[in-house]
Every structure is written in C-alpha cells, then in structure tokens.
C-alpha cells in the first residue's frame, strides 16, 4: 500500500499535510504517536472511512478513491475502536456479518460462508461459544469476536484501531498474540494503532510514528524508538533498556527524581 501526498482536514486547516509513506505487505505495521497526532485519522483514511482532501492511496496499484466500498471491503478488513452490536446476537451471527462483502444486501448466501465463518471462530478460539450471546461475553472475548468478523471477510489486509484499549494486560497480550499469529501463520498484512510503546516494539515489524499530522519516522521497528525521538514526539524522558529474556529493547519513562519504593 502506497500513500502519496495525502492531506486531510477536519474543517478549515489541514490536519494531515502531504503525508507520504508505505505499508509493507506481509508485515505488521504499528502506527504510534501521542493523542491527537492523527493515528486513527490515518488508519481511517487508508480504508476510506474518511475521505482525503488531496493525495492518493494506492492499494495493489489502484487508487482507493476510485474503488467501491465493497471492493475495498474484500481487500481490507477493519476492527474499529468502539463497536456496538445488539446484545442478543450470537457470536456466530456476528461473525457471519463478515461475509457481507461477498454477498448481496438482500440475500445472505455465498458458497464459502459456512466454512469461512467456522475457520474465523476457530482461529480466534470462539468455536465453543458460537451460540453464546454477544452481551454475555467478556471484554476480551468480545474483541476476539469482532476480530473474527473481520477475518470472515477473508481479506489479505487487517486493520485494527487500538485493539487493546479497555482490556486488561492479560487480554491485551492475548489479542496481540492472536494478531501476530494471523500475520505469521496466515500471512496477513496487519496495520494497527497502539498506545503502548513496549507492545509496539514487541509485536511489530515496522512502525509509523506520527506527530501533529506528520510522519516523524516510518520504517523498521529496530531503529524506531530512541531517547531523542521519545523526547521529540511525546516530550518525555525515558531510558531504553535491553531485555535479555525476549531479546527486545523496552522503554521506561523517567519522571522527576527517584521512585516511590
């Protein structure tokens, strides 16, 4: 996916200005940045939820502005940040909506529906609760159900907007591990917005770091997080340390002097 000179505005002034970057196929790309930096806006522009005022987004060499929403829905699935569904819907019914891009609005049939829905529930570990109502699920289960819906679309690209928000650390890791598995085992290209820098380091191949609607860094995660950049983007002081156990760097913010212990 290529992004060329992309601009977007909420109202008068440009919020995103002439942004260029790319999304590498088969990789996990995480968009990082402080609140209001344009992370979610960029993600929503990429799937045409929002319309760019200028510039192009190319998907397989085709401009998404010229693609129909249904055509995009067959290539990109998206898990939004906040989702609501009627509470009496069963998991299987919810996941079934993922087939809509491959069906018509009036009839809900396509040849691969049953098989794909079952696969999506299996991958997300929901098969045993397929008849449970969405309203009875825990936060983590509900998030997996929405991911399963996206998987049922059978797309090559999967976008997630802050998939771990509102979840405790156990479920956060569960979701991120699932996302990684979708990438490694099924070759899906993942683009997600995360807030947690350490999780981004651990689970991404590439990162795009944004500040005030501009890209500060785009590329390999290895060189992305430095003390200078954290200072520049978030305005914080931090130490970057190395964890022997998983072979990953991690960052700890430094606030004032000392700590409470």
């Amino acid at each position: 996916m290529e992004i060329r000179k992309l601009s977007f505005s909420y109202g008068e002034t440009d919020f995103i200005k002439k942004l260029d970057c790319g999304i590498e196929r088969g990789k996990i790309t995480t968009i990082l940045g402080p609140n209001g930096s344009g992370k979610s806006t960029l993600l929503n522009l990429l799937v045409k939820q929002l319309k760019a005022s200028e510039g192009d987004i190319l998907l397989d060499g085709k401009r998404i502005n010229e693609m129909k929403v249904k055509e995009i829905a067959k290539k990109i699935a998206m898990v939004h940040q906040q989702n609501a569904a009627p509470t009496d819907l069963t998991v299987k019914q919810l996941v079934g909506f993922g087939r809509m891009p491959h069906q018509t609005i009036f009839s809900g049939q396509d040849e691969e529906a049953e098989e794909t829905i079952n696969w999506a529930m299996e991958v997300t570990g929901l098969s045993h609760m397929q008849d449970k109502c969405v309203g009875q699920l825990s936060g983590g289960e509900r998030q997996r159900a929405w991911i399963a819906l996206a998987l049922a679309q059978k797309t090559e690209l999967l976008f997630l907007d802050e998939p771990t928000t509102y979840l405790d650390i156990y479920y956060q890791l569960e979701i991120l591990t699932l996302v990684r598995r979708l990438n490694r085992e099924y070759g899906m290209t993942i683009v997600m917005v995360l807030h947690d820098i350490n999780q981004a380091i651990q689970f991404s191949d590439n990162v795009i770091i944004m500040k005030k609607g501009r890209v500060c860094y785009a590329g390999d995660v290895k060189n992305a997080i430095t003390q200078e950049r954290l200072k520049e983007v978030y305005g914080i002081d931090a130490s970057i340390l190395w964890n022997e156990e998983n072979g990953c760097p991690y960052m700890i913010p430094l606030v004032g002097a000392g700590c409470a212990v």
Binding site: V69, A73, H80, N83, A85, P86, D88, M100, P101, I105
Partner: protein, 326 residues
C-alpha cells in the same frame, strides 16, 4: 423453535381476533350469518358482515401491519426505539397533503395513497435535516418530531377553518377512522400493502447491518446512508398509504415493535413479520373495543391508540434506551 411457536400463536390469535370482531358490535352476528355472507348474496345481518364488518376488519389488519412495520424500519434507521411514524411527524405530513387533495382536488381521490407517500417523504426529509447532526439522537428526533408535528397541526387547523362547511367527512378521517370503507378501497389498499410489506420483507439484512454502526456497515462494503434512504422510503410508503386511507393512528408503530423486540429479539428477519402480525391484531382489537364499549356510538381507533399509547411512550422515555442494542 420458540420463535416458530410465537408465530403460530400470533397467526391463531389473528384468526381469533378476526372472528371475534366479526361477531360483536351493534348487531351481534352468528356463525351461520358469517357463513352466509361468503356464500349467498344476502341482505340483513349477513349483508352487514360482508359490506361493513369485513372491509373494516381487513382495513384494520392491513393498517396495523403497515404501521407496525413502518415503526420497526424507522427504529432500525434511526437506531433508537423512540421512532414511530406518528411521533416523527411522517403521518402528519402525509395527512396534510392528503387533506389538501381531499378538499381541493376531489377528482384525484383515487390516488390518495400516492399523495400520502409524497407528504410522508416531505415530512421525513424535514425531520432528518432538523435532527441530523453527526447521526440521529433520540432526543433530537423527538424534538424535531414535536416541531414538525405542531407545525403541521397548525396547517391542518388552518385548512379546517377555511373549509369548515364541507369538513364532515374529513374530520372523522383526521382522527383515524377505519369504518365506512368500501370494498374498492380495501382492494386498492391491499395492492399497496402487498407492495409495501413485500419490500419491507427484503430489508431485514439492511436493518441488521445498520445496527452494527455506520463504521462497520462501511467496512463491510455498504454505504450506511444509502441503506438509510432505502429503508426510510419503505417505512414512509407504509405509513403514507395507511394515513391516506384511515388518517393518523398514533403509537402502533411504537408499541408493537417494542413488544415484538422483547419476544423475538433484535434480528429483523423475525422482527419484521412478527411486528406485522402483532400490529394487525392490536389495531383490530383496539378498533373492536372502540366500536363496542359505548355502542351504538363509536370511539375512533386513533383516539384509542393515542390514549393507550401516550403513557407507553412516557414509559419508554423513562426507560434506559440503551436496550436497543448499543
């Protein structure tokens, strides 16, 4: 299975309601008379059944079904349980246009349903543009509905004043009246109803998809606003044709979908047909009560539904509207 049982129960209930409604009234009717009404070209009691009661019952059944389904669809479009053709002002819009045609263009009386639809569409556009602000909130719809309703109420009063000498027939129609319908009217209403309900039965997936929110609707490849226009058009059609024949009958589109949702859940595949059945039964019973409690006088069915529906509306307003599914 539970749903299937509920459908069978409703169909039996509708049959029973029809039978009761044929038999009771200012003239009591025996089963034999009913049988005669269908077989022989008879006068007297059997004639009453054939030419007065049965057309009236069929009208009640069709209008009840139409208004209930219209309510379900509007609630699906607006994403909250307070929407109904009466409250939103769609029925008033239809009635103003129909009234103008009745009084000033009596020659066009045969195409009243079309004018009802046009009036409903105009009111609907007005309400959407008043209530729309990054989505439709329940409060704004109700406020816009109140505004549109009182505005159109004023227009109705004005037209009434200007035409006080030949208002007799229009007045009972304004209050929502199912009686005095000819077989010709019933037959043409049947055609419109089959078309309207037929279209509504194609829409359950549109409504279900919208319930997942605009963003998900779009992610799944459909433009939520196009779906809204499509569903609204059918809802306005159903309410418009009903208003054209029987005037404004409020709250059926509010109460029936609410009860149906409690019994059948939020999926529109069962919600739409079940609401149609329940709407038919409730409006028929309301009308039967209306013409029997103080017989030989009649209470217009619109008065009954408003008197019973008003408190129900207040109850819904008090209740947490989150139950809609968000």
């Amino acid at each position: 299975m539970k749903k299937k049982g509920a459908f069978i129960f409703m169909i039996v209930g509708l049959a029973a309601a029809i039978l009761i409604s044929i038999r009771v009234g200012s003239v009591s009717v025996s089963l034999q008379d009913i049988f005669q009404a269908f077989t022989a070209d008879s006068k007297g009691t059997a004639g009453i059944v054939r030419d007065i009661r049965i057309p009236r019952i069929l009208m009640a059944v069709m209008v009840g079904a139409n208004l209930a389904v219209s309510g379900v669809l509007l609630q699906g479009v607006m994403g909250n349980p307070m929407a109904d053709p009466g409250i939103t002002g769609i029925s008033s819009g239809a009635s103003v246009v129909v009234m103008i045609v009745m009084l000033y263009l009596p020659a066009k009386a045969a195409s009243l349903p079309v004018f009802g639809f046009i009036g409903g569409v105009l009111a609907c556009i007005l309400i959407y543009s008043l209530a729309w602000k990054q989505g439709l909130s329940a409060v704004r719809i109700i406020l816009a509905g109140v505004a549109v309703n009182s505005m159109l109420g004023g227009v109705t009063s004005l037209i009434s004043l200007l035409n006080s000498e030949n208002l007799q027939g229009v007045l009972s129609w304004l209050n929502g009246e199912l009686g005095n319908k000819s077989w010709t009217q019933v037959k043409s209403m049947a055609v419109y109803t089959v078309v309207g309900l037929g279209m509504a039965f194609l829409l359950p997936r549109c409504c279900d998809l919208l319930a997942l929110g605009d963003k998900n609707t779009k992610s799944l490849g459909y433009n939520p606003n196009i779906l809204r226009i499509l569903i609204s058009a059918v809802a306005v059609f159903l309410a418009g044709i009903s208003t054209a024949y029987v005037g404004v009958i409020g709250f059926i589109g509010l109460i029936v979908p609410h009860i149906s949702r409690m019994l059948m859940g939020s999926g529109h595949k069962s919600l739409i047909p079940f609401s149609a059945l329940l709407g038919a039964v409730i409006l028929l019973l309301a009308d039967t009560v209306g013409r029997t409690v103080i017989a030989p006088y009649e209470i217009p069915v619109g008065v009954i539904t408003t008197v019973c529906g008003g408190p129900f509306f207040l109850y819904l307003l008090r209740k947490d509207t989150k139950g809609y599914g968000n």
